[in-house]
Amino acid sequence: MAAPDAPAAARPQVPPAGPKGRRPPRRKGNSAALLLIAPSIVFMTLLFGWPMVSGILQAFGGPQGLTTANFSRMVQDPYFWSSVGNTLLLIVVMIPIQFVLALAMALLIRAKPRGSSAYFYIWAIPLAVSDLAAGLVWLTVFTDRGYLNSLLASLGLAPVSWLAYDNYPSMFGAVLIAEVWRATSLVFVIVVAGLQSIPKDYEEAAGVFGANFWSRLWHVTLPLLRPSLQTALILRTILAFQTFAVALALTGQNFPLVVGETYRWYTGLQDPNVASALALVVMAVSMVTAVGYLKLLRDQSEAPQ
């Protein structure tokens, strides 16, 4: 970078127009590159930009033009606040569990136990499972005549109605377990990739200078893993706000979640405007969270150590 007080003439500039007003051509690469990315920009603008604008209009739309009536209907719906509460509670509990579990799994794999390639395959399978399928898989376990109750019965214990609408803690637990089962895989793979990119030397050096396993983890591994964890955290949280089919499969309508409500307003109650309003709420919260994470994690790295 040029020194700030270098004379203006010394700083790189676009060459001034010549006598005929022509400038020298830009690098040929520029136009080729723009040509190559043009289709993607067009496509994305049409399919992201247009719906976004349209969605905002729809959320504020009414028979007589712009209105906030949709939002008030949304908020007054009896299930709205419980859906928000459930979603937030789920995220607050689920994300830390997933990250600790994924980190533990990645560290276990890294220690190369016997059979580690088989373990890696099995532990990665759930990431390719859809959330609907995950819900159905755990349905076999938690349903009244399912495998968990069968196990209890064969041990002589009384079966429990895990998914009953009035058994809130266990409904929450079932959805939590199903989502942890499904979504931890993705974080696990991201962390494994991140660990692989950390050269062995750093941890060996830390070891020679007196750090035991936990010290090495805290002082060397985790700080160097921060970029991977950051990306994973943002992606995972935004996806977690959209938890939907898992709960539908396990608990039907008894465990409302925000996106589940969006679906219900759209298909069940046939009101696309309120559905859009809900979608906007999800987007707003996701954006705020993403920005919050970025700020939080960036501040930590700048702090003196």
Binding site: L34, L47, W50, P126, L136, S150, T231, L248, A279, A290
Partner: protein, 293 residues
Amino acid sequence: MSHATTSKASAGARPEPAVDRRPLARQRRNRVLLQVACILITLFMALPIYLIALAAMSSRQSLQKFPLSFIPDNFSTETMQTFLQSTGILGGLINSVQVGVFTLVLSLIIGVPAGYAVARFAFRGRDPYQLFLLFTRALPIVVLSVPLAQLFLQTGLYDSVLAVVLLHTALALPTTILITASVFLGVPRDVEEAARIFGCSPVQAFLKVVLPMAVPGIAAASIFTFVMSWNEVLGASILTLNQRTLPAQVLSSLAESPLAYRFAGGFLLVVPALVFIFFMRRYLTNMWGSTIR
């Protein structure tokens, strides 16, 4: 006539300390604990899959019994057959395959050139473009689906395979571009430049040299796109009514369907995951490692 060696005498006549093998024993114990932990986690991950396979492969009768048996002593394809013959399931399967394949093709057509541009050209606006892609990747599906449904209604695209393909491509494109960009970054520039020196045009160099080296990475990205499309539930449900994909079909009939139907549906949705991850497992870490900034 011997090795010329010189060595100072050892310091004093200190007795040899015995080799302390306790740390070795400690390490061996740790390895055992490691295996135990791995086995526990594997049980957690694998058991549910085994259970739904078991449930889907049991006769209807045995599913009515309580308690359920944990061993496959009542193998039968009855449940699966009934499921496959239910309304809309076979059609849903076909639709899911169609949507997946078209999404894959479309996202590659649009995404691979863009990925190449990001990898090879330091063009003005590259950073904002990458930021734009990251931003769109983080956009919730639900935000798009509802308005898109309205737009498709107005343009007559609603309830068609094309509608879902467009949505899924839009979802897959950012990831495809970023992954192919890092794949192309992994192809050394000098190989390409050597091809140019030896007479290839830029397009020829790309097709003959770069593309073959990039194929494994792009294949992995394609499989990832297909799986994503196969599993996508919310958008597909909102955008279609009669031309449903498999997950959308199962979702819409969830409330009214018998347990056996749901078990069979879940199993069918899980099987591709088993197959895809098996073939993709070597590429998994490469893909995610390379997209991490």
